[in-house]
């Protein structure tokens, strides 16, 4: 019997909101650990080479300095291989063995670490470390001529070099209407407001505790166990709150190892907080990716060929690859599809997943090309999408567990007023500005993973939910509270959720939009198990049953893992995004006046937080379309704007009216809770809709983001010639 639903589906406020606004929420760097020392990284200033000499004498003599660690003075760590590798790690290459050799692989790589009594003393002394380099040739220019196919391991992980179904080249050659669209998406940074930080403390028995900013505490524990050759039960990782991450907290980065090494060296707990500049080169980023999309269609709009090639950058030491080409294979019905993915090894730090990894990029490429195709066909871009709805997954032939994309298109178009958009030059004029309208589809595959959760019910009516998952902002604390309150028949405020601690029941990465479909069901199962243990009925307050049993408390665990639906169905979140822009042709500035997004994300656990998630994705999409680019100088191999004054995330003044809504959807095939996952989908399609709207306003095909004022003006000048 289905339990009565009270809280799931209600727009309750964040349960962790008061703690966050009052400052009571403790983030990784905030933990007040006695006898804390502080570490500061010295970064390489060449993109490739060897450390010829390193002089630490001045740093060692500086006030407060406890230790200066270099590759010459740091003990060799085992760095055991991970087998299998965690899903968030590249499938080939080897992670950066920090301070283990004299090789410089990228500008910004840690080459020394200073530990001091205070953070200021550590930074001052780090400035005194003199490093002489013997530079070697570096690949700092993105040149597809040097690109290569991904390794077999990467291909097996859903990032194949070459795929083909049907006769793509033949169908494209025969297609009555064709477009061939190149596109460039630059390196982007996660730019979360909380910088990464780790506090490491060893106890007298050699046990290590890490307070770390992480989306996956279990993996930090496993990774550090492998790096140091420790048993996992010797390590505990604590990360109760995460101040935004967007994927930067999925992997375990070298600074975590450095913090543990430093604490071991000085025999005291050590805090290592990365500076904003260091975040650019000591965590990951969305890789620079260049693309070519070729589409062939019949005059009625039906696609007959999709050929999508993309080349992404990776580092010289690890093979990071994305699912950039998945949308080309799955989003639209098309019999003839080829994809070709290549990688370019460059002297950069390894990229990493950033919100909507692969999909957000691939859909920017695909959906701007679809817009070009619509215009080549003389067809309404919305009608072109409708003509190519994939009623089953076109790649595997499997049915969708649910797919309400058509409803997203229809309802978002209606709310936006797509049918009444300005269509003539005259209607598009608003003073000196030009109005433009554009749209794009959004798609992000839904998955779930194995997890456990524990519920403890107390006779006083309080309940505790525990799992080693995370809440980087989307609302895990709140949503799990809602699920548990319903399942236990308790008021929301009587449920406490404890997450972000590797001592809790195991959970997968808090990424890939899998958390609710995974943990939500584990929590529901734990509560059901408790109900069974107490011999209670299918619904209502469970506390009386506990009291009847005479116990003070009772606990149960529940598990959740993908079932046979994962083999029999394809699952994905869908959406449709419509954008209205105002372009100032003289200056080239683009203002996003309105965005309307309609989403199929399965059941919506919390409409308030879901909307918040979606408008956050829209703002990030405005940044992707108009302003965000880590400018990489190919002469010195360095990010030139490694700060928030020139790496431009949108500010409120850049954001117009945002409307996000959810179409009717409840995917009980995918999982019993009916959710599909809501995080990545919110970024997908936004940038494409904006770029397409810019075309509508100006007639300019912008094939590189961000669409900066200068690029608009340059494109206009090129057209005028």
């Amino acid at each position: 019997m289905t339990p009565a639903t009270t809280f799931v589906g209600s727009p309750v406020s964040r349960v962790d909101g008061p703690a966050k606004v009052t400052g009571a929420a403790v983030y990784a760097a905030d933990f007040d650990i006695p006898h804390l020392a502080h570490a500061s990284i010295v970064q390489a200033r060449v993109p490739a080479g060897r450390i010829a000499a390193i002089d630490t004498r001045a740093a060692e003599a500086a006030p407060g300095v406890l230790a200066v660690m270099t590759h010459e003075t740091t003990r060799r760590l085992p760095w055991h291989p991970r087998d299998p590798r965690p899903g968030v790690d590249p499938k080939a290459g080897e992670r950066l063995h920090v301070l283990q050799d004299d090789v410089v692989r990228y500008d910004g790589q840690p080459v020394a670490l200073v530990v001091a009594q205070s953070e200021e003393q550590a930074r001052a002394a780090a400035d005194l470390v003199r490093v002489d380099y013997a530079p070697t040739a570096a690949r700092t220019r993105f040149d597809v001529a040097y690109a290569r196919a991904p390794s077999e391991a990467t291909a097996k992980a859903g990032r194949p070099g070459d795929t083909s179904r049907g006769d793509p080249e033949g169908a494209f050659a025969q297609a009555p209407v064709r477009v061939d669209v190149p596109f460039v998406q630059p390196r982007e940074q996660h730019a979360a407001i909380e910088p990464h930080a780790t506090i490491a403390a060893w106890d007298e028995d050699g046990r290590l505790t890490l307070w770390d900013k992480s989306q996956w505490v279990d993996n930090v524990r496993t990774e550090i166990a492998h790096v140091f050759g420790l048993a996992e039960d010797r390590i505990r990782v604590i990360s109760p709150f995460v101040g935004g991450a967007f994927g930067s907290g999925l992997r375990t980065w070298p600074h975590v190892t450095l913090a543990a090494l430093a604490a071991e060296r000085v025999g005291r707990p050590v805090r290592l907080a990365l500076t904003r500049r260091q975040l650019f080169t000591n965590t990951g980023f969305r890789p620079h990716t260049e693309s070519r999309v070729r589409l062939g269609a019949f005059p009625d709009g039906r696609l007959t060929a999709i050929l999508h090639e993309a080349t992404g950058q990776t580092s010289t030491y690890e093979e990071y690859a994305e699912t950039t080409l998945t949308p080309a294979r799955q989003l639209y019905a098309c019999p003839n599809v080829a994809t070709r993915y290549r990688l370019l090894d460059m002297n950069v730090n390894t990229p990493s997943p950033m919100r909507g990894p692969g999909a957000a990029t691939g859909e920017l490429f695909l959906e701007t090309a679809m817009d070009e195709l619509a215009h080549a066909l003389g067809m309404n871009p919305l009608e072109l999408r409708r003509a190519n709805l994939a009623k089953t997954d076109p790649d595997s032939g499997k049915p969708w567990s649910s797919n309400a994309l058509a409803a997203c298109w229809d309802q978002a178009a209606a709310r936006f007023g797509w049918a009444d958009r300005p269509r003539t030059d005259e209607a598009r004029r608003a003073g000196r500005e030009r109005i433009g309208s554009g749209m794009a589809s959004a798609f992000y595959p839904a998955h779930r993973a194995k997890a456990r959760a524990r519920v403890t019910l107390y006779a006083n009516g309080g309940a505790m939910i525990q799992a080693a998952t995370s809440d980087m902002g989307p609302g895990t604390y709140t949503a799990l509270s809602q699920v548990a309150a319903d399942a236990l028949g308790l008021p929301l405020e009587q449920v406490r959720v404890e997450i972000g601690d590797s001592a809790l029941p195991p959970a997968p990465a808090h990424g890939g939009s899998i958390t609710m479909a995974t943990l939500g069901n584990a929590v529901a199962n734990a509560c059901a198990a408790l109900r069974e243990t107490l011999g209670a009925d299918g619904e209502g307050d469970l506390t009386p049953a506990l009291r009847r049993s005479g116990r003070d408390s009772a606990a149960a665990e529940g598990a959740s893992s993908p079932g046979k639906e994962a083999q029999e169905y394809e699952s994905a979140a869908f959406g449709a995004v419509f954008a209205e822009v105002r372009v100032d042709p003289e200056l080239g500035t683009v203002r996003v006046a309105r965005l309307v997004g309609g989403y199929d994300v399965g059941r919506v656990v919390n409409p308030k937080l879901a909307r918040s998630q979606c408008i956050g994705g829209m703002v990030q999409g405005i940044g992707m379309a108009l302003s965000e680019e880590a400018v990489f100088d190919r002469h010195c191999g360095r990010v030139m704007n490694a700060n928030l004054s020139d790496y431009l995330v949108p500010v409120c003044a850049d954001v117009g009216a945002l409307e996000a809504f959810f179409v009717e959807s409840d995917d009980r095939v995918f999982n019993p809770l009916g959710v599909k996952g809501l995080a990545e989908i919110a970024l997908c399609g936004v940038a494409a809709a904006i770029v397409n709207a810019v075309y509508d306003a100006t007639g300019l095909r912008m094939r590189e983001v961000p669409v900066t004022p200068e690029r608009i003006v340059t494109a206009q000048a090129a057209r005028g010639r």
């Binding site: 003393q121 400035d127 200068e710």
Partner: protein, 281 residues
């Protein structure tokens, strides 16, 4: 280790400066502290914001005196004649409100960033810089004071005590426009400030136009200013020529290329003049 001194008078400040040339003068600190980067502060600092009489705007004879510790928020909130509107608009673009509450106009000038929003507006207003040193006080035009990128004509031991803005006729209007790659909280690609004084017939009697972020130091456009005399304000924008940008020497950088900067500056000049005309209606 750094020292942090807080003198109680200009004389004391000048005295301290004469004994230690390495002292770095700090007011709001909104440029000084970021410029230290990620290294620890090794400089010694001379904090002038507590010096009595250094904060505030007063009218003295034919000029408005803006004390060296006067913040952007002070200016934005002050009841001032309309010809200060351009300066106020610039003040609203200097970082966020928190920055405007701490940052000073004099600091914006002394920091001598090519992208200083305040310097452009002050330059259009013919502002002068009042300087105190062990030899007494001197005053020099802002255009001479800022000598290059991060370079000003302060001698060792000297300190800026005020900015002096000449009074203008009642029928004077000004405006300011800034262009960045996002709408707000951004270092300028280009910015323009203009002031126009109108004669009794409503024609432009005098104009001051300055362009920033397009040369090492903000530049006035004297040829354009001369052509504007006698022109009705509503037609002022039409008088602007592309060649008016010839005095600029923009560079390519991470924010924009030189050619775009030059073109954008001219567009901004036209729009700033149109805004002045609108204000004069």
């Amino acid at each position: 280790m750094s020292r942090y001194l807080r003198p109680g008078s200009i004389d004391e400040a000048v005295g301290l400066l004469s004994t230690d040339a390495a002292l770095r003068i700090v007011a709001g600190g909104t440029d000084v502290y970021p410029s230290l980067g990620e290294a620890a502060a090794r400089a010694a600092f001379l904090d002038i914001v507590r010096i009595p009489g250094l904060r505030g705007i007063t009218r003295e004879n034919e000029a408005w005196r803006i004390g060296a510790a006067t913040t952007w928020s002070d200016v934005v909130r002050a009841p001032l004649p309309a010809f200060f509107d351009g300066l106020k608009l610039a003040g609203r673009e200097v970082g966020a409100i928190q920055i405007q509450n701490a940052g000073t106009l004099a600091g914006n000038v002394v920091n001598a960033s090519p992208a200083a929003d305040g310097t452009v507006a002050l330059m259009a207003l013919d502002a002068r810089v009042e300087i105190a040193g062990s030899d007494g006080r001197r005053v020099m035009p802002l255009g001479d004071f800022v000598t290059g990128v991060r370079s000003v004509a302060l001698k060792p031991g000297e300190i800026v005590t005020a900015l002096l803005v000449p009074d203008r006729p009642a029928k004077s209007r000004s405006s300011f426009l800034k262009l960045g790659a996002r709408r707000y909280l951004v270092i300028s690609i280009a910015m323009v400030s203009a002031v126009v004084d109108l004669d009794d017939a409503g024609m432009i009697a005098e104009a001051g136009i300055a362009v920033g972020a397009c040369s090492p130091v903000a530049r006035r456009l004297p040829a354009l200013e001369a052509r504007l005399v006698g022109v009705p304000p509503a037609q002022a924008a039409d008088v602007v020529l592309a060649s008016d940008a010839d005095v600029l020497s923009p560079i390519d950088d991470v924010r924009a290329r030189a050619g775009y900067r030059r073109d954008a500056a001219i567009t901004l000049v036209r729009r700033t003049l149109a805004a002045c005309a609108e204000a004069a209606r």
